[in-house]
Symmetry: C2
Subunit: 295 residues, 2 copies
């Protein structure tokens, strides 16, 4: 049972604020979806939590001990990262063996089963594997390490559909055999939407959503109808996006509806899925760079 508490965390690179006053608690034994666009600050946040990077100010506490002051606090956290950290020529078997030596209690029999299920050729050197198998080897290690907090950074990058399904089902199995905190950072939001208990969305260095998955979706609505009636009904609601198709318009609303207001017969209200909610909450004008810059 390990709690990670992040307080007033800031991180600057040169003059750029990568992370802005992050306050966040990862409670024990829950499965978090950590979502964010490319460049939102997810990887920086994860690297700070795992002691690979420093804060500019603020604190990361693991069970009350600051990560900055006490590296021992980190022994309970393991990150499967998108970056490859293994020597190119090292064979898969040796990578797993060496990790098992470092972590007393590493689940070797699970590793052997997963290696067979995923069809990993353990005699091959790591560098010769495809993108998908790089992810798979790192996922297998992360599932077998005996820590209380395991972080998956893009665990399904390059995996085919069958292997993604297998990974999700093994992750659930592993969690139910040994409940612990899992943090999954991924762009394939649809596929983890039914798997995570909690959702954290980071956008442009700030936490914009932090809550239970189920509660979140209770406040996410797709409301469709003829434009005039629809917009009259949605007046005052938090419309985060909209779409038109022929005579019908859909407003995407995040927040409570007005229960006092009658829903017109022509207007229908449905739930919004997590990926759609994410897209509308984090969409932006893409013109980040000088308009004059052309090719």
């Amino acid at each position: 049972m390990t709690t990670i508490k992040i307080e007033h965390l800031n991180k600057h690179f040169h003059k750029h604020n990568v992370l802005n006053d992050i306050n966040l608690t990862f409670k024990p034994d829950r499965i978090y979806g950590l979502l964010g666009r490319n460049g939102a600050g997810k990887s920086t946040l994860l690297s700070i939590i795992t002691g690979l990077n420093f804060t500019s100010s603020g604190n990361v506490m693991i069970d009350g001990e600051s990560v900055n002051d006490n590296c021992g606090a980190l022994s309970d956290v393991f990150m499967m990262s998108e970056t490859n950290m293994y020597p190119d020529s090292m064979k898969v078997r040796d990578i797993i063996k060496n990790t098992a030596k470092l972590y007393y209690g590493f689940d070797k029999s699970l590793a052997n089963r997963l290696v067979r299920e995923f069809g990993v050729d353990i005699k091959t050197s790591f560098s010769k594997l495809s993108t998908g198998y790089h992810s798979i080897v790192k996922d297998i290690i992360a599932l077998c390490v005996p820590v209380n907090v395991v972080i998956f950074d893009e665990p399904t990058l390059g995996l085919d559909a069958n292997h993604r399904e297998l990974f999700y089902s093994e992750l659930i199995q592993s969690y139910s055999d040994r409940p612990r905190t899992m943090i999954i950072s991924t762009h394939l939001i649809d596929e983890i939407a039914n798997l995570v208990s909690d959702v954290v969305i980071i956008d442009d260095g700030r936490i914009i959503v932090d809550g239970e998955n189920e509660e979140l979706l209770k406040n996410a609505h797709e409301i469709t109808g003829p434009e005039n009636e629809l917009d009259a009904y949605c007046d005052g609601l938090n419309v985060i996006g909209s779409k038109k198709l022929a005579n019908l318009k859909t407003n995407y609303v995040y927040g409570q509806l007005n229960d006092d207001r009658k829903v017109p017969d022509t207007v229908s209200i449905n739930g919004m899925d997590l990926q759609t909610l994410f897209i509308y909450l984090t969409s932006r004008d893409e013109e980040l760079f000088d308009e004059e810059e052309t090719i």
Copy 2:
């Protein structure tokens, strides 16, 4: 209008048959989903079509001209590949500029618009971009090149959900502005299921599906009911997989149903989506390697 015809294509590496008697026609101006598991032979097939690799036997004809005999036939085919082919230090702007010089008719104004929409920093060197932006730069180039056949190999690898949606919508827009053959090879099958007109599935070096998307799904059924009634109804049908949940069983059936047979009231028939169909058609016992091999 370009037709690619592949006849009795075989490819061996050492003693391994990577591609087995492939016969396939890519008709002009259609959008193909080329689907396969990791290691199925997709990339080898694409590298042969684009002249980057040789056949062991058989032929690839582009508008009647053999690729082996005539490199000119290839000038009409462009592949956006998962592999990075650009010098590490080259700036994005120069990569796009150089490609534009090679292809007379390259759509510069589209490139400029897409660079802004996707927020690409064109002053950065290619190697400093993230996995997602590597894909984006290659996608932009592929959309702007004035060829009749454009091949996308994992076009959304590393893209966040917003950028994937933007890519799909720009691809459709580009196709409608200038119809041409598009071949999309991807693991994110759900996301391209509504976008492709034709589906080719390659498994273990063989073509196992080749047909129109719509026709394919007409033959893909999820049939659910109590086990006994369900299995009696499905007797003789092509059941490619099944699942049990409490008292209900689902059989996944690929092929025509028996219209003479009455569907029991307790049994319901629904369509199967493309990703599920793919997973069941290509699932296999994963124990490819020596059972004795352990860590």
